[in-house]
Point group: C2
Chain length 298, copies 2
């Protein structure tokens, strides 16, 4: 498969629209009246060289069904704000208590815990403000809002399942793991793909295919994350490693072993690729993005 | 003025629709798949006998312009979720560190800090999900979403100004106090009134009047809160008292004294009443609600 030889130049092509999303977010924040310290805190977390996988999915799914990237910029920016809000709150001392994120001190270390709570809250509701104030068609905005809000809530459900599990169930560990990750990582990736499709004018069949692509890619993304957590270093990842196992959380390598996890990644990669079979060359960036996500090293 | 003799029966009449909002919220939560512990945490905070001032404003503003209460139930329920999310996060140890709310242990005491963070996050985004999935007209939903999102963000701005003030400014203390409260309490009350007006089909002039009513009522609400904080007891209010002054926060009694605060309340009450002069008898519940808020004892 092509996944094994993605060059730096390919990667730059694949992630090209990410810079437009950053510029869009930066302009949105510049125009939104906010206290200086709050704005600084949001920019510190939001414009810090993240991978912008979710915005890329929004834009590439919009293109895959024939839309222009500009049509998807607002939801692309919004979904990144939701993602970063979740990172900032997850890192809090009462949650995962992480000091390092994207190679920098986490926001509660850099500013204060109060600011991390409030800046997270602000990013979450600014995401909805962005959609509500920047999108022109009310019908599209409402559909997008539905995807984003349901995706966000399902993500929070995943956090609760992961951080505050209910009594041990008799569910198979791999089923339970997939259940958690369908919510924790999958829900927002799914919302991203569907929002992109909606903005590009996808028909029901295309939207269903993008949803299947998103579901496979979402689980694959998490399996790669779990794998890197075991095989990589804090220097490379820019965040602490091997904390999940220490905290007793379910992980793919924990349940399937390293080889099993690699097989799972390959199988999910195939599933995502197959979901795109009905699309023409305009889905190539989406195919390449999935290839990249299967072999990413950080 | 009528404010001095509000009987228990009057009060029940004024707050009648609040029970419908609670039933609506309860049904919404029953139908939304959520882990048991998250649902329990949300219900603990959300359905705990609050005053439901914001939902009442939504419904009474809808009626004032000729709408039916049912048209405003979704935004009424949503604004209460946003309000309660803000209380739960404000009470966190890293924020105001409060143990008591509505006469019960705060959520982080009752459950855990992690659950208080996550349940707060969930209530915030469930509020947007509720609007996005329950409102029928896309145009109205988008307008409502705009009010709710901007109001929420301005409220968070007020929290930042209040909790993490920037360098001391040379602004007059009363101007600074009003600045904070226009955001902290005012923004969501303003959103509540405007959402109600929008759902009831208000014209531009009516919406402007409701906005003036909301702004005066918002500042008055906060002045009464500050007054009760000095003159009442934790037993009566169901929360800690005199913490604001201890934490060095600006308050109306701190800036204007007790008598000055009472005069300010009377003057804002008049301002709110005058704003409703163009409305007929259908605004009477709104007038009575303002009367009640001026003299409330908890």
């Amino acid at each position: 498969m092509t996944t094994l030889d993605i060059t730096q130049m390919d990667l730059e092509q694949i992630t090209l629209p990410a810079r437009n999303v950053e510029a869009y977010l930066s302009a949105f924040l510049r125009h939104r009246p906010l206290p200086e310290n709050l704005k600084r805190a949001i920019e510190y977390s939001l414009l810090s060289g993240g991978k912008l996988v979710r915005p890329l999915l929004v834009i590439r799914c919009c293109e895959a069904v024939g839309g222009k990237p500009e049509q998807a910029l607002a939801p692309a920016a919004a979904v990144e704000m939701v993602h970063v809000f979740s990172l900032v709150h997850d890192d809090l001392p009462a949650m995962d208590d992480d000091d390092l994120r994207r190679g920098k001190p986490t926001l509660h270390i850099h500013e204060s815990e109060a600011m991390a709570v409030l800046a997270g809250d602000a990013m979450l509701s600014l995401a909805f403000e962005l959609i509500a104030t920047r999108m022109k068609s009310a019908d599209t905005a409402l559909e997008v809002m539905r995807e984003l809000s349901v995706g966000t809530n399902d993500m929070i459900v995943g956090q609760v399942q992961d951080t505050l599990p209910l009594e041990p169930s008799d569910q198979d560990p791999i089923d339970r793991l997939e259940d958690i990750h369908k919510n924790k990582t999958g829900a927002l990736l799914r919302a991203a793909c569907r929002m992109g499709g909606i903005c590009g004018g996808a028909n029901a069949k295309q939207l269903a295919s993008l949803t299947r692509y998103a579901q496979a890619t979402g689980l694959m993304f998490q399996a790669v994350d779990d794998l890197l957590d075991v095989t990589s270093t804090p220097e490379n990842l820019g965040k602490a490693v091997r904390k999940d196992a220490e905290m007793g959380k379910l992980t793919y390598p924990g349940v399937l072993g390293l080889d099993g996890t690699r097989e799972q990644i390959a199988s999910l990669h195939t599933e995502a690729t197959v979901a795109l079979e009905g699309f023409d060359h305009r889905a190539n960036p989406l195919r390449e993005l999935c290839d990249y996500l299967a072999v990413r090293q950080k």
